[in-house]
C-alpha cells in the first residue's frame, strides 16, 4: 500500500515538477507510514527520483508509450495503482497531468482534488488545501473515495530533497487499440524555451507596451533573468502575442517565484491568475494602476526607459555574481 506518484518527463529527462510531486508524495507517505513508488515513462535516469524520497520506480519502456497520450498513460497509471494497491496517487498541475488526471479519476472512481497548495491537513479522512475561484480563495477539501488523486499546484510545495535508495523496475502494462484512438499528429513548440508552467521567473507585458514591435526588450529582460514571457489578455486578443502566453483567469495561471508585470494595469481577472506568484514587481507609467495594490515592488515610470536600464543593471549584477 504505497503512495504512487506520476513523474513527468520530456525527451526522457524529468521535468522540474517531477521532483516536486515526488517530494510531496514522500511527505504523504511519511505521514501514512509507507513508502513512495513512482511511475515514469522512458525516463533516462529514473534513479534520480531517490533524491526526493522515491523508493521504487516503475519505468515504462514500451515503444508505443514514448510520447504522451493522455488516455494510454492514464490506463498505465491505473494499472500501476492497482499493482501497488495505492490509495493515494500524486500528480502535478501541468496541462498533461490535468488532462490524464481526470481520465484516471474516472477509471478508478477516485476522488480527485487538483490545485493543492500544501501537505495534507489530515490523512484519515484525507483533507487538502487547494485554490478555488482562480486563486481568489482556498478550499479545504475532503476526499471520501477509496482512492485519492492529489494534483499538486506548481511551485507550491517545493523540490524538497529526501535522499533514499531508489530501486528501478521495468513495468509492462497492457494497452489496447482504444487507448490510442486519439493520435498526436504534430507538436508545435519551441525547443528549450522556458514555459510559463515551468518558469521560476515570468516577465509579462501589457497594452502599455503599445505594440508587438516593442516586445524585443521584454524578450531581452526575460533572457537575462532566465524567465518565460507572458502577456495580458488584451495583448493576446489584439494578436500581439500568441494565446499560449495569455495569463489570467481565462488564460494560464502563473505560480512563479517572481512575476514582473510591465505596462499591465491589473484587471481583477489578471490579478487572480497571477496571485499564486510569490513576489510581484509592477512597472507602470500610471501611478493609479490597480496592480500596484497587489504587488511587492513597484516602479512608476516609462517602460521604454525603465526596462533597458533594468536590463543593464541585471547584466552588471550577473557579472558580479557569476
Amino acid at each position: 500500500m504505497s503512495v504512487l506518484v506520476y513523474t513527468e518527463s520530456e525527451n526522457r529527462k524529468f521535468k522540474k515538477n517531477a521532483f516536486e510531486v515526488a517530494a510531496y508524495a514522500f511527505e504523504v507517505a511519511r505521514i501514512m507510514g509507507t513508502s513512495v513508488t513512482a511511475i515514469a515513462f522512458h525516463a533516462e535516469a529514473p534513479e534520480d527520483l531517490g533524491g526526493y524520497g522515491v523508493s521504487r520506480v516503475l519505468n515504462v519502456t514500451t515503444d508505443t508509450l514514448q510520447t504522451f497520450n493522455a488516455r494510454a498513460y492514464a490506463s498505465v497509471i491505473a494499472q500501476a495503482a492497482q499493482k501497488e494497491d495505492a490509495t493515494v496517487i500524486v500528480i502535478s498541475s501541468s496541462t498533461d497531468s490535468r488532462f490524464l488526471g481526470a481520465i484516471l479519476a474516472g477509471k478508478l472512481k477516485a476522488g480527485y482534488v487538483p490545485n493543492v497548495v500544501a501537505a495534507p491537513e489530515s490523512i484519515a479522512p484525507l483533507v487538502v488545501r487547494r485554490t478555488v475561484f482562480s486563486n481568489k480563495g482556498f478550499a479545504h477539501s475532503q476526499i471520501d473515495a477509496a482512492v485519492s488523486i492529489i494534483g499538486v499546484s506548481n511551485n507550491a510545495f517545493g523540490q524538497k530533497e529526501n535522499a533514499v535508495e531508489a530501486t528501478v523496475e521495468g513495468f509492462e502494462p497492457t494497452t489496447s487499440d482504444s487507448d490510442f484512438s486519439t493520435k498526436s499528429v504534430e507538436i508545435d513548440k519551441v525547443p528549450g524555451k522556458t514555459t510559463i508552467a515551468d518558469a521560476d521567473i515570468v516577465v509579462s507585458g501589457g497594452r502599455g507596451l503599445k505594440g508587438p514591435e516593442n516586445w524585443g526588450m521584454i524578450e531581452e529582460l526575460a533572457a537575462v533573468l532566465g524567465a518565460a514571457t507572458a502577456c495580458s489578455k488584451p495583448v493576446s486578443d489584439l494578436g500581439w502575442r500568441p494565446h499560449s502566453e495569455h495569463v489570467g483567469q481565462t488564460g494560464k495561471p502563473v505560480a512563479s517565484n517572481l512575476y514582473v508585470a510591465i505596462g499591465i494595469s491589473g484587471a481583477i481577472q489578471h490579478l487572480a491568475g497571477v496571485s499564486a506568484s510569490k513576489v510581484k514587481v509592477v512597472i507602470n507609467s500610471d501611478p493609479e494602476a490597480p496592480f500596484f495594490k497587489a504587488a511587492d515592488y513597484g516602479i512608476v515610470g516609462d517602460a521604454f526607459q525603465v526596462i533597458p536600464e533594468l536590463i543593464e543593471k541585471l547584466k552588471e549584477f550577473k557579472a558580479q555574481n557569476a
Binding site: 474516472g106 500596484f292 541585471l314
Partner: protein, 248 residues
Amino acid sequence: MKILVCISNVPDTTSKINFTSGDTKFDTTGVQFVINPNDEFGLTRAMWFKEKQGATLHVATVGGVGTEPTIRKALAIGADEAIRIDAEPTDGYFVARQLAEIVKNGGYDLIIAGRESIDYNGGMVPGIMAALLGMNFVNTCISLEIDENKVTAIREIDGGKEKIATSLPLIIGGQKGLVLESDLRIPNMRGIMMARQKKLQVVSAIDAPQATRDISFDKPAPKGQIKMIDSGNVGELVELLHNEAKVI
C-alpha cells in the same frame, strides 16, 4: 451530428469572492451568474457546427432552479433544447456521472465541456465522463474541425500546441481559442423570445457518490505594503530582489 454542450453556471469574472455560513459556503450576495467562459467558447463553436453543418445542439447543466436564466441564455444564443439535472454540483465525479447518463441516453456524437469552471477550477468533468463512457477526449482544445466522422483538433500544451487526429464520438474540454473572443454572441431580442418557447427539460439526478467535498473556505492573506522604487534608481530593485526577496 448531435452535440451536447455542458454548461456551468458561475460567478462573473469580475465578482468579489466572499464566503458565508461560517466560511462553509460561497456568498452569492450581489453576484452576477453567467455561462462559464470556457463553456461559452465551446457553445459558440457548437453554433458554427449547427449553422454550417446542420448539427442538432442541446445544452445541459447540473444545478438548481436558480441556474435556469443561464441555460435560457444558451437557448437564446441558439441551442435547440436544454436539460437541467436537478442537483447541486458540488463534486466533479458526481457531476460527470449525471452528465454521462444524459450522454448515454441521448446518443450524442460530440460533447463539449469547458476545460474547467472558473469557480471551483476542478477541470475534471469532461475527463471523468470520457473514462466512464469510453469515449475519445481532447482537453484544453483550441481548435476543432469535423469532417464526417473524422476529427482534427488542436490542444494547448505547456509552451505550445499539439495537433490531434481522432474520431467521433468525442468529448472535448474547450477554452478560448476554439473561437475568437469577438465571435462570442450576445443574445438578440428574437433569440430571447424564441428561447421562451424552447424545451427545457428538468430531470432528477441519478444515484451517484460524492467523491470529494469542500469542508470550509478561506481567503488569501491581505497583501503587505508595496515598496516603491524611484524610476531613476532601478539598481535598487535589483538589489532588493536579490537581498530582500531572494528571488534572483
